[in-house]
Amino acid sequence: MSTAHLNEEQLQDYALTGITHPADREHLSVCNHCQVQLRAYQMLYNQIQEAETPLVDLETKDLIPDQLTNFNSDDRKESRYLSGIFFGAVVLLIAVTLVCWNSISWVFAGITPLSIIIGLLLLSGVLIMQLTEVYSTYRKKLSALYMELTAT
């Protein structure tokens, strides 16, 4: 049987998880010093656990800022700007292609069916990757929110 006292780290761990080492259990059964130390840690953990949670003496509605709608509308405004810019760029590209079709038609003249298929495959690949990314982000967000909601 070990005569050396348990160190603080062992005492803290054993108070949390229980005594796992047989030699330490044997030592504890005869050592008053270690028993007292371990009991003190167990009492401390229990007291922390059972301590009352302080209350926020404020109404929930008082914690929601009046400008909540403004915060969100700023966010929506930003995403609307981005969509507008993207849509405008696509429309501009199509318009330029249609207007200048005669001068740029030579670009598409030499394209073979095989290269069209390869191009479409590459495009599909990129699209699938993008969709997978969007879907996994969506799942991640949903699972995070689900975890939050089930915890309430």
Binding site: V36, Y45, Q47, A51, T53, T60, P65, L145
Partner: protein, 182 residues
């Protein structure tokens, strides 16, 4: 707009206990406590669009609470992490031979309220950061990783602060019982 308000209410209800624990442990009974909690939720709603789902929403709100309290405390320059020298030397003053296991067990007979008051007194000796870490780990049962996310402290530092805080609290608890036992 109603949806936003409903979501905001849910968010507050889900996080208010954790926020209260952090604010109370960091600032104690500071009169600015209410303002601090309002400030925390104001920041939460303002920066919510920046939340990137890299951690739990409650962890993110706790992160805001901790940094807001830390900024607030820095104005008053209290000792945030240093344990007073007399507390560090406390173990040397206590002879465990004077304290029996039965004397500690008798402590269990005290009411929850009395035990809470003893804990409050013990906690008062700890710096705010230690108090908060102890509460987050033992009361809120957060993992070391979550505490690391909230406080921004390295994992090793969190473990070391927790170790020291527990040791100081245990020594003060024994000191308390040795006084009552004598």
């Amino acid at each position: 707009m109603d949806g936003d308000r409903h979501a905001a209410t849910l968010l507050i209800r889900h996080t208010e206990k954790l926020v209260a624990q952090i604010v109370f442990k960091m600032t104690g009974n500071h009169p600015d406590r209410k303002d601090l909690i309002q400030d925390i939720y104001l920041k939460t709603f303002r920066y919510l669009p920046r939340f990137r789902f890299q951690c739990k929403l409650s962890t993110w709100v706790a992160q805001i609470s901790y940094t807001t309290c830390l900024d607030h405390l820095k104005k008053y320059r209290p000792e945030l992490i240093a344990i007073p020298a007399d507390d560090e030397s406390l173990p040397g003053n206590i002879s465990t031979a004077k304290i029996s296991r039965e004397a500690l067990d008798a402590g269990e007979l005290l009411s929850v309220k009395e035990r809470s008051e003893i804990l409050e007194r013990l906690n008062a000796a700890l710096p705010p950061v230690y108090r908060t870490l102890i509460t987050l780990f033992h009361k809120e049962e957060l993992s070391i990783e979550e505490i690391t996310d909230i406080t921004g402290l390295p994992t090793g530092t969190v473990k070391s602060y927790l170790f020291r805080a527990r040791k100081v609290l245990k020594e003060r608890l024994l000191y308390q019982y040795s006084k009552e036992d004598i």
